[in-house]
Symmetry: C2
Subunit: 327 residues, 2 copies
């Protein structure tokens, strides 16, 4: 099942069921009006939403209309919690090696995870307003999950059933702030402005065999200003989403609607390219002694899309432009 949220003038938007081919949509109301309401009442609303999804795919849903990703908000336009992992260790290893960053303690055994801002998630085609090109504007292509209520102490083994929906994310990052914020010990804040989300959230079954072991086994195709940038594969994730849930829930319960991210998708094979500029700069530094690529400029675009084995878009595309917040 695919679910999206359309702009309707409210902060939470209007929940819609979206067809498998992403072409048609139908309002989820009267079953449920918003994504937050849906995730809080998942057991109750899921069967009816699935029936509506089946009807929509069969062309028999009344009041269906064309789905316009330009009118889509993030599937969950604001969340009560966003915890973002860094579960592709290849990325961290490259950054350490290229830029002489001190090794992170317990890097291989304890997931890195930061608490991010979740009050203002952006839609898939929304411009990304930022204050300055001097801040080292970067994208980060990621997968993420949306969970229902997770009890404190939930183990990785128990976590699977709490994953109700999968998401695809652009975790916009400002690299000029990151090293200083990491050194100060309090984590990212100015380095991590609002994240953007692909048009639809999908239930895990929608991926078939590409959802297994708590990982999204799909390539994430990334283009920067229309040019190929990478197609790293989600299957190389070192810590599974199950492990990320257990990490986040060790000392607290996670309330329904919590979003947990994978961190930038990254593969050991350099021919897969990257899902963020910082990593390309690390590869360039290792090959040439210095980074060759700059960061994003105002007007630059990024396109991110996960494709299934048949080449079909799973979450729809993130396709957005970075703009000056002052203009």
């Amino acid at each position: 099942m695919k679910l999206g949220t359309l702009e309707n003038g409210t902060r939470d938007g209007m929940l819609v069921v979206v067809s498998r081919d992403l072409r048609r949509a139908v309002r989820a109301r009267p079953i449920v009006s918003t994504m937050q309401d849906a995730i809080e009442n998942w057991a109750e609303v899921e069967p009816s939403l699935r029936a509506l999804y089946d009807a929509l795919n069969a062309g028999t849903a009344p009041d269906a209309f064309d789905f316009d990703p330009a009118a889509a908000m993030a599937p969950l336009p604001r969340a009560y919690q966003w915890c973002d992992g860094s579960a592709f260790l290849n990325h961290g290893r490259l950054m350490e090696k290229a830029f002489g960053i001190a090794p992170v303690p317990d890097f291989e055994t304890v997931p890195l995870m930061y608490q991010g801002a979740s009050d203002d998630f952006l839609g898939p085609r929304a411009d990304v307003p930022l204050p300055s090109e001097a801040h080292g504007i970067d994208f980060e292509g990621e997968f993420a999950i949306l969970v229902d209520d997770v009890p404190m102490g939930c183990t990785a083994e128990q976590a699977s059933g709490h994953i109700k929906l999968l998401l695809q994310v652009n975790d916009v990052s400002l690299r000029a702030f990151a090293p200083a914020e990491m050194k100060r010990g309090f984590g990212f804040l100015q380095a991590k402005p609002s994240s953007s989300f692909a048009p639809v959230a999908v239930t895990p079954d929608e991926l078939g065999a590409a959802w297994r072991d708590g990982r999204v086994h799909l390539p994430l195709h990334v283009r920067w200003n229309g040019e190929w940038f990478g197609h790293p594969h989600g299957g190389e994730m070192n810590f599974s989403f199950h492990q990320l849930i257990a990490h986040a829930a060790l000392t607290r319960r996670l309330r329904a609607g919590t979003v947990i991210g994978s961190g930038t998708v990254s593969n050991a094979d350099p021919s897969a390219g990257s899902a963020c500029i910082a990593e390309r700069r690390a590869l360039e530094t290792l090959a040439h002694g210095k980074p060759l690529s700059g960061f994003m400029r105002f007007g630059d675009t990024v396109h991110m899309e996960a494709l299934d084995a048949d080449g079909h878009s799973v979450f729809g595309a993130i396709d957005q432009k970075v703009v000056s917040a002052r203009s």
Copy 2:
């Protein structure tokens, strides 16, 4: 004006107006039903809420009832964003000095601030369930603010008008995780379980002259298991709440309902005591070469209350017990 939220079986609770003396309450509906709705529509609802507050204080509000802090949730039971500063530099200086922590870069000029979990704020009398006494269970007495929509790039000078309500917080902390999480660079996650809030949020005018320069000029009285622990004064805050807003909003807008904390209240005069055990242990280490106090045990209680010049409680009291999450 004082506002609280009472349990009603929902995640967002029921907004109530609470009398100045904290004894009586009246339902805020039909003006507005929840704190989140109120902060999103502040200009529209504030005059009617104030009229109701005046009537309540005059004893003329129909349907008023006794206010029971034991039935209170956090004034905002869940938020889309919680950014917690560390704006009392005396605290950081003591921790550095006592425990040989490396100095934080730009400590005096750039506020320390971490992004915290806001999906599950606890009420003032709620038990605090935690998995293990071995995690170094600590309290942190703080003040906080609740803002309306703050634009990206908001300066400290512009920030004042965005502060709609003041709060008092127990930022529960697990000290066993903090040093490792700080070293890993991604900030606090397991070290910071759910925070608890005093019964009511108050408008800044409620403090009279004790609200000035973006600081709460009140002593925060802290008792651990009924014994005096400290009464540090909020006026010693080195960075004002205005500066904390500007710091948080540098690279992103803050959506209505964002909560920003001061960090643990801390005074240079050691006779004021402390608002967290870690700081008392730092003082003990400096005086005796080692910490003498342990951290909290299951069954321990903490009481936190800010008193005005006449000795009246401003936000009501946080008075809660730490318990095993497994029992």
